[in-house]
Structure formats: structure tokens, C-alpha cells
């Protein structure tokens, strides 16, 4: 059974702290993604990676960075957390199937609160 795990379900941090969100997939997927979900805005892509050490900016990369040192792990880093980064963060992975829809498998999400 496919599985995407995220390091925390709930996280509370203070403004200015450096925050690490970890995501691990066990499906040997090529692609990994980080989204944030906010009411009325749906899922917005922060960064994605289609190979180890490769990354591409999504629609809202400002204030975030990512790291993919191993195929199964994709980390999202908030260099200096701010209150407007309070959100639900969702990690996903996909096979990288160019011939099909390449559906994504999502983790359960991390609800981050920045005080």
C-alpha cells in the first residue's frame, strides 16, 4: 500500500524561527511536491522536485526553500517563520508517468501555526 508520511500532524512555532517539515514516500516515486491549503484558495504549489537534488518553484515559493538529498525524502524549510505562513501543509508524490495522468499521493498534512 502506497504511503506518504509527514513528520508532524500539528506544529506550533514562533515568528522568526526556522522550521523544517519532512516528507517521506515509500513508493520509489520520481516526483515530490509541497502545497499549502488555505480556505477559499485550495491547494497552492510551493515547490516540486522531479529528481534528486532537482527542484522547481511553484506558484508561491517566497519565504520557503526545499531540499531533496534522497529520492524518498523531500523537506520544506521556512527560513524565518511568519504569521502569514500559518497554514495546512501537504506533501505529495507521483510516479512521473508522462503517458498517464500521473496522479499524486498525498500525506495527511501538517497544520502549522506561527505565533
Amino acid at each position: 500500500d502506497v504511503k506518504v508520511t509527514q513528520s508532524s500532524r500539528y506544529l506550533v512555532k514562533r515568528t522568526g524561527e526556522k522550521v523544517f517539515l519532512e516528507c517521506v514516500q515509500d513508493m520509489d516515486h520520481e516526483n515530490m511536491f509541497w502545497y499549502r491549503q488555505d480556505p477559499g484558495l485550495g491547494l497552492r504549489l510551493i515547490y516540486f522536485s522531479y529528481d534528486v537534488k532537482m527542484k522547481e518553484k511553484g506558484d508561491i515559493p517566497e519565504g520557503y526553500s526545499v531540499s531533496r538529498e534522497k529520492k524518498e525524502r523531500f523537506s520544506l524549510i521556512l527560513e524565518s517563520a511568519s504569521t502569514n505562513q500559518t497554514s495546512m501543509y501537504l506533501c505529495a508524490s507521483s510516479l512521473g508517468d508522462s503517458l498517464g495522468g500521473d496522479e499524486q499521493f498525498f500525506g495527511p498534512g501538517t497544520r502549522l501555526t506561527v505565533l
Partner: protein
């Protein structure tokens, strides 16, 4: 600039009737469209997809229709069941080397027993 729009934030349907969820897009370069379902406190799960070269795809109670000229797609659920109550996200994929996917804002479906 929203490339994928779901204009109805919510929809209420009686059990056994048809649910129709709509989605509009602006980018002609999208090559696949997908629907995901999300329950509270869980990540979204894939439901059904359609290639941009097709106009219909069916999987059990779920059918997705694509109208390329209108840049519009819809998800039909027949018959609707209370367990279908969830938030449904429309998504569109663009092959940019990796597979960037743009999601709509979601439609919350309530199926009343």
C-alpha cells in the same frame, strides 16, 4: 490569476440523485485533468482523470466530461451517497519537464440522507 477555477464553494444534493461539480480552466497547455476528494483531517485522494484528447472518462459512479472548446470540465456522481460528502478538487497538469499541477479552490459536497 487563477488558471483553474471552481466557482461553486459548496453543493448540496439528496442521496440517490446526481451530483455535478464544475471546473473551468484558462491554460490550453494542460494535458491531463484530475479530480481529487478530500475528507477532513486527511490528505486528498485521487478519484478520476481524463486526458485532454478525450471528452469522457467513466469509473463506476464517477464520470468526468471535458469540453475543450469551452475550457470546462465536470464531474458527475450517480447515484450520490452520504459517504461522498467531502471537498472535491479539480486539478490540471502541465508537462514542464516535471509535472506541475494546478488545483482549483475546491467544492464542498454535502449529500443528504
Amino acid at each position: 490569476d487563477q488558471q483553474v477555477k471552481q466557482n461553486s464553494p459548496s453543493l448540496s444534493v439528496q442521496e440517490g440523485r446526481i451530483s455535478i461539480l464544475n471546473c473551468d480552466y484558462t491554460n490550453s497547455m494542460f494535458d491531463y485533468f484530475l479530480w481529487y476528494k478530500k475528507y477532513p483531517a486527511e490528505g486528498p485522494t485521487f478519484l478520476i482523470s481524463i486526458s485532454s484528447i478525450k471528452d469522457k472518462n467513466e469509473d463506476g459512479r464517477f464520470t468526468v466530461f471535458l469540453n475543450k472548446s469551452a475550457k470546462h470540465l465536470s464531474l458527475h456522481i450517480v447515484p450520490s451517497q452520504p459517504g461522498d460528502s467531502a471537498v472535491y478538487f479539480c486539478a490540471a497538469r502541465q508537462n514542464t519537464g516535471g509535472f506541475k499541477t494546478i488545483f482549483g479552490a475546491g467544492t464542498r459536497l454535502f449529500v443528504k440522507a
